[in-house]
Amino acid sequence: MENTLTLLQESLDAAFKPKSIAIIGASNGARLGGTEMRLLLESGYDGQIYPVNPKEEIIQGHKSYASIRDIPHEVDRASVIVPAKVVPQVIKECAEKGVKVVQIYSAGFSEMGGDGERLEQEMVTTAREHNMRIIGPNCIGTYCPSSGLNFTKGASTISGNIAFVSQSGGIAFDMVSRGHITGIHFNKIISVGNCIDLDHADYLEYLADDEETEIIGFYIESVKNGKRFIDALKKAASKKKVVILKGGRTATGSQSVASHTGNVAGDYQVWEALFDQTGAISVKSIDKMLTVLLSLQKISPIESGKVAIVGNGGGATVLATDYCEEVNLELAELSNLSATSLDQLGVADGGRNTNPIDMPANQLAAEEGRLFGSVMKILAEDSEVGYILFHFNLVPIMNYMDLESIVQKMITELESIDRTKTNLVAVLRYNGEPEVEKIRYKAMKLLESQEIPTFKAIEEGLAGISVIANQSLKGGR
């Protein structure tokens, strides 16, 4: 067991942080083999790159090899981007070469029926004989900003405390593409494909011990070895936060049931039970996954801390109060000192409007944003308050003043707030107009530079706080 684990760790270290990579099927062209190599060069990978392609001499400035066998150096990792029918031969060569791990990008195996499954089994057998591990087939690659691995243009180079494992290439892609725009930073994202060798349990096992990782995101549709998955999930969830999006809820229904229990306990219900049981957080959509990851990364639980809300929009403020009840959040009752201070600032009127605080656009912008800053400081210093959600509805502010400059000023005000006992959570509401979007985007990046998470709707921000504040209420661990 210990040996297996060491081997697993070595292989996945080689997958995420290889000293040398062979790209089998690399090219000078625009298709996947060319793109994969180009992305590696552009993303700052500083290990050895060995393109393999018998038709070329030089690929993107690097000597090309006809076969992996011709490479006169050790190869940690191979990325295989060749037609399905030649993959088995390539795998055999990789194994014989002593490659630690291969990721097979090529599709066209068991997911297409026919001979696929047999071919997969043969590859696994070959790999096992040589202690080589396989990722995939049918997957879109690995992202790891610290080592420069990447599978799409425009990916972030900043590394965070989240690792993401996806059974869908598209969702792995969404995480890379949407994540950093949203302010979420990953240290690893891997598309796992058909999991013929390395499977969910292996990735969980590895990430449970990974020092870079505090949060594990997972998109999963099915597992092959349920028992191993349970053990790995228990281990991972006891050491890290695990967030799971389960796709495919319809019952497989192949097994007939004669008991009441069988009828009540559907397949998806069992998955849900398992998530509860292990303490994993279960989400039901990509958007919710992003909300939860952002919240786990940027909001810290504050014991007995309650919520304060401040921003423009009377109706929105009323609805925010309603929504607090729905997500089990309590509004902080401010201290007398805070109430008096707010009253003196002219924000709260004789004890009214203390929390939530409705500050119309002109108040938010008053004194170049300093009034807003003062209100935030009062809230942050109140020991009742653990989380401050501040929301700007951008368009009404635009009607009064230069939006970009005032929002920047308001955000600058936040720099002097003591954040040790209070979380700041931003909501930037907007109307979807491209001009406003641009300003919103810049504001979001400013907030991100202060490690403040930004959401699009008040409900989303409150749901995010709720995940953190109500975490200890959930059973499991």
Binding site: T252, V257, A258, V264, V270, Q277
Partner: protein, 249 residues
């Protein structure tokens, strides 16, 4: 746990070409696993039923016993609260007649005579084997709670004590287990014990595919529980395998 006796019942069931273990045998298996069940005996004649009823003590429950009849109520094969020899005699005849109408393939019907347990909070405990994750335990309140509301809690085996405690609290009807409406708190310690006894049985016998204990009567704190009805379903095996099992015997 008396494993040999349990395996013997499995063999009898297999020999009868069935994989659904009749109620009386299912409960018997749980008794061998250390679980509290009502006194029960099988009778083949009216006289025998009356004799057994006297031995067990009135009132009694009569139920049809047959490998052919899985749904006893559908066959009008259950009579409760029989208070005298005459009622038992009459009841025996009625059940046999109903069974004959319901299922014409067999004339070897028998009737079980059972102690009538004092009603209490109804609980359902079940087990199914999930294709992916293996044995899953189901817990809930009986009757409408499970049938109408599907208000149940599931856990994948093996269970920790904390798992079981969370199952008790995460159902919607959890307050019925506590002091409620003048009722005392229920005997959760005994219920926890029962769930672990069921887990042991499931882990010991991979041939058990599904279990329903429905209802279990759960008494107030310190007064335990009793499994009033049980069904165990074995996995299906080829008849070849059955012969093999029998020949080993």
């Amino acid at each position: 746990m008396n494993k040999e006796k349990i395996q013997e019942i499995f063999r009898v069931v297999r020999a009868n070409n069935s994989n659904v273990i009749p109620e009386v045998f299912s409960k018997q298996i749980f008794e061998y696993a250390g679980v509290n069940i009502p006194k029960q005996e099988i009778s083949s004649t009216e006289d025998e039923a009356v004799y057994l009823a006297k031995k067990i003590g009135f009132p009694v429950v009569l139920k049809i016993h047959s490998f052919q009849i899985v749904h006893k109520s559908d066959a009008k094969g259950v009579l409760v609260g029989l208070k005298s020899s005459d009622e038992v005699r009459e009841g025996f005849r009625e059940i046999i007649q109903n069974a004959a109408i319901y299922n014409k393939t067999s004339d070897k019907f028998q009737v079980t005579v059972q102690e009538m347990a004092e009603p209490a909070t109804e609980i359902i405990i079940g087990m199914k084997r999930d294709e992916i994750f293996g044995p899953v335990i189901l817990f809930g309140l009986g009757g409408v709670w499970v049938e109408v509301l599907k208000d149940v809690s599931l856990r994948v085996l093996p269970l920790t004590e904390r798992d079981v405690e969370l199952m008790f609290t995460e159902i919607k009807g959890t307050s019925l287990l506590e002091k409620f409406r003048g009722n005392e708190a229920r005997d959760l310690a005994s219920l926890k014990n029962l769930i672990f006894q069921l887990q042991n049985l499931v882990l010991e016998f991979p041939e058990i595919n599904e279990i329903d204990l429905n209802p279990v009567f759960l008494y107030e704190k310190g007064h335990g529980n009793i499994v009033v009805d049980a069904r165990i379903v074995l996995n299906t095996v080829s008849s070849l395998y059955i012969e093999e099992v029998i020949s080993i015997e």
